[in-house]
């Protein structure tokens, strides 16, 4: 299944991938067990002449333990999964580290516009660079973004960054990421936003620091 997972170029991407793999293996074992036992029982106990069914309604605790103990183990696995997931969520959505680079992502029907804070590091100043459909960021630097919508709800989606965040009109939602290699990657809109939802793409361009600085000055 995971051979379909796109390349991860994000520092926190490893955390997310790690959780997905953990869930996949833990839950996978349970799935195979449950499915396997079901099919085994169905075949093993098919009707045969002269063999009556057992009478086992499980009206007392002892036979019920066959169900309650596995269910308790399921609970423990669930809690372990949550324990692993919680720090990752905190890291990605709550603790925004000090940033090296600032971008405002403006979503509208049906395009992504990016306002990159210029060399002064402040948005809405004269040296900002505004692009449509192309997000430029330097590699190995913390990028902080602010999401705003001009109209309806959109969702900023960069699979390679393992980053998704809804863009809600009336709010400015902040987040961050740190790309780990240069290259060109895809961005899409992950919340139905109207006729052009299916064509609302953009490109993430991760550049070396020097290339990025040069681009910013132009």
């Amino acid at each position: 299944m995971f051979r379909w997972l796109p390349e991860n170029i994000s520092t926190f991407g490893h955390d997310i991938d790690g959780i997905m793999y953990l869930i996949y293996y833990v839950v996978g074992v349970w799935f195979l067990l449950a499915e396997g036992i079901l099919i085994y029982f169905a075949l093993r106990y098919r009707r045969r002449a002269g063999v009556a069914a057992a009478y086992a309604p499980a009206k007392t605790l002892r036979p019920m333990l066959w169900v309650l103990i596995p269910a308790s183990l399921v609970l423990m696995c669930d809690l372990a999964i949550d324990a692993k997931g919680s720090p990752a969520w905190e890291k990605i959505k709550r603790d925004i580290p000090a940033h090296d680079c600032l971008v405002r992502v403006e979503a509208r029907q049906f395009a992504w516009n990016f306002r990159h804070a210029g060399p002064d590091g402040v948005l809405d100043t004269a040296d900002d660079v505004v692009t449509s459909g192309q997000l430029h960021v330097p590699v190995n630097k913390v990028v902080k973004f602010e999401l705003v919508s001009k109209d309806v709800i959109h969702s900023f989606w960069a699979p390679n960054l393992r980053l998704k965040q809804d863009v809600v009109p009336g709010r400015a939602i902040t987040g961050w990421f740190e790309p780990t290699r240069t290259g060109t990657f895809g961005i899409g809109c992950a919340e139905l936003c109207g006729t052009g939802h299916g064509v609302m793409g953009a490109t993430l361009i991760v550049q070396s620091q020097s290339d990025f600085d040069n681009w910013l000055k132009k």
Binding site: A58, L68, D78, N160, R162, D166, A190, E191, L192
Partner: protein, 575 residues
């Protein structure tokens, strides 16, 4: 609970209005019996036929959607290619129809109405005229919804979730279709609420002597739980829907930020209902399966009381998980962890229910009738749905899979088994009781295997696409660099759907055959122990033709110390 002498009536004696009808001739009699009937069995059939008809519409929409995804830009069914607007309307209506016009009317309206009175030994529901009102309100809602396809601007196109601002003013000229959508859904809710009064009152008040609550079939418990969950969760959404309608028609701005409103308010109201709703759909289905397995394994249901208690716990928990649909929505991040925890906890009572169903097979004597095959299939497929849900429930992992095809795969692996395997299992099983004939078992087996093979072929690719990052509700996968390489997966899924639709033909043939011809089914063709099998096939007015009481629980199969293979509930105990 021991049998007591009947208490003097504190209320006027309930009389089913359909009793002692003067035998008027022809047209009015026809109307009274077949159209405006207050008989729960007729109403159940009405819900069944309407729901199945809407399933055809929903299936047709699925066909068009998948055709577009496999062959973007090409003509569909001889018509011009699908535009992006049409595509959005189709996915919206596909989801809306399947949840509200197929799942609920069939699982609850049809099976619930037909079976609840029979299973508890009653002659009809507590409020038969209310029951009739419920169906006709539903019928009206169906008309309104279908009409929305034909108005200027077309049917609603903002998803079955109808998020503002898109649903309010994000699609120019779609206002009328969206308004009709809101109206249709509101009417459907009203019809289910009206029906729900019966599903809750009848089992509590009209059980035949000897049937204590814990001697009721699990199906009745599940219907009650589903109904209660529905009735307590839908209210806020009804209010919210009225506000949405005002926003659409009058631009009031409850959900519009530039008028002081909040789009996220709708999401909360929607999902506060939307999540319990999936259990409203699942519980009747597992109730059907819980009736079928004991009969064809000749074994009592394993852990009947724990199943009841677990269902109650799960029902309660279902009200506490809704924001797991909103992790990425802009919700305060501090809320993610509490909702992740409640979400993950809810898997425990369901694990108890499912494991108990599986344990019922242990040392059984299993006969693979079509009903049993669909029951096994329902559990087997639902296990995929349930386990794939764990990733969605973990907030951090959900960042990746939210709004991708992984979610689409997940909910089809839960909803399709519940709705379709559950419905088919129930129909193959109860058809003799409903129509006095058997559904063709050979066609049934072909139906089952074809459905299973092609269902998996359709939806496994979607799980993979989701892992690949393919977002939802995209009408042309060629557009994005990371979705274009998944074209083969789209092709497989589309072929899977073609096969899935094709293999419903055996069922259609069996269905038609099962409605015509001589009534040859016996009273209890499956040697089942529950009360509906004590009535004639099909039952007449008043349901039962002999006096009886209940003497034991509903699953006394292969009882040791009994010579008989099974002890039905109505059989008096002998010393």
């Amino acid at each position: 609970m021991s049998v007591q002498a009947p208490a003097p009536p504190v209320e006027p004696v309930h009389e089913s209005p359909s009793h002692h009808e003067p035998q008027t001739s022809g047209f009015f009699h026809f109307l009274r019996t077949y159209v405006f009937s207050v008989d729960h069995k007729m109403i159940g059939r009405q819900y069944l036929f309407t729901g199945l008809a809407m399933a055809l519409v929903g299936g047709l929409l699925a066909y068009i959607i998948r055709h577009q995804l496999a062959y973007p830009g090409q003509a569909v069914l001889g018509h011009h290619p699908i535009s992006a607007d049409n595509y959005n309307a189709m996915i919206t209506m596909h989801g809306t129809i399947m949840v509200f016009w197929v799942a609920m009317p069939i699982l609850i309206g049809a099976f619930g109405n037909f079976l609840i009175p029979l299973m508890i030994g009653a002659d009809d529901m507590a409020f038969p005229r209310l029951n009739m009102l419920s169906y006709w309100t539903f019928f009206l809602s169906t008309v309104v919804l279908v009409a929305s396809f034909f108005v200027p601007g077309g049917a609603a196109a903002s998803g079955w979730t109808a998020y503002p601002s898109l649903s309010v003013n994000g699609i120019p000229a779609n206002q009328l279709g969206q308004a009709l959508w809101v109206l249709a859904v509101a009417l459907e809710f009203a019809s289910m609420l009206i029906g729900g009064i019966n599903y809750l009152t009848t089992p509590l008040n009209m059980r035949v002597a000897g049937m204590s609550l814990f001697r009721m079939p699990i199906f009745v418990w599940m219907q009650m739980a589903a109904t209660l969950i529905f009735m307590l969760s839908v209210g806020p959404l009804i209010g919210g829907a009225v506000l949405l309608l005002f926003d659409v028609l009058f631009q009031t701005g409850v959900y519009l930020p530039d008028k002081g409103g909040d789009p996220l308010l709708w999401q909360h109201l929607f999902w506060f209902f939307g999540h319990p709703e999936v259990y409203v759909i699942f519980l009747p289905a597992i109730g059907i399966v819980g009736e079928i397995i004991p009969v064809f394994a000749r074994k009592p249901l394993f852990g009947y009381k724990p199943i009841v208690y677990s269902t109650i716990v799960a029902g309660f928990l279902s009200f506490l998980v809704w924001a797991h649909h909103q992790f990425i929505s802009g919700l305060d991040p501090r809320l993610a962890m509490p909702f992740s925890i409640t979400t993950i906890l809810i898997s425990v009572p369901f694990a108890i229910v499912l494991f108990s169903m599986i344990a019922t097979f242990w040392r059984g004597s299993i006969e693979f009738t079509t009903a049993m095959l669909f029951a096994i299939g329902m559990i087997a497929e639902f296990l995929v749905g349930g386990t794939t849900g764990i990733i969605n429930g973990s907030a951090a992992a959900d960042i990746y899979v939210h709004d991708t095809y992984y979610i689409v795969g997940h909910f089809h692996y839960t909803l399709f088994p519940a709705v379709f395997y559950g419905t088919f299992a129930g129909l193959y099983y109860w058809w003799p009781k409903m129509f006095g004939r058997r559904l063709d078992e050979r066609l049934g087996k072909i139906h089952f295997w074809g459905t299973t093979l092609f269902f998996n072929m359709t939806f496994i690719p979607m799980l993979l696409m989701g892992i690949g990052g393919h977002q939802r509700r995209i009408f042309d996968p060629r557009v994005f660099t990371y979705t274009a390489p998944m074209h083969n997966l789209h092709l497989i899924a589309t072929f899977g759907l073609y096969g899935l639709l094709l293999y419903q033909l055996p069922f259609v043939i069996a269905f038609v055959k099962g409605l015509v011809g001589k009534r040859t089914a016996e009273r209890n063709p499956w040697n089942a122990a529950t009360l509906e099998w004590h009535a004639p096939s099909p039952p007449g007015h008043g349901n039962f033709d002999q006096e009886f009481e209940v003497h034991r629980g509903p699953y006394e199969y292969s009882h040791p110390g009994s010579e008989k293979d099974f002890l039905p509930q109505w059989l008096p105990t002998t010393n």
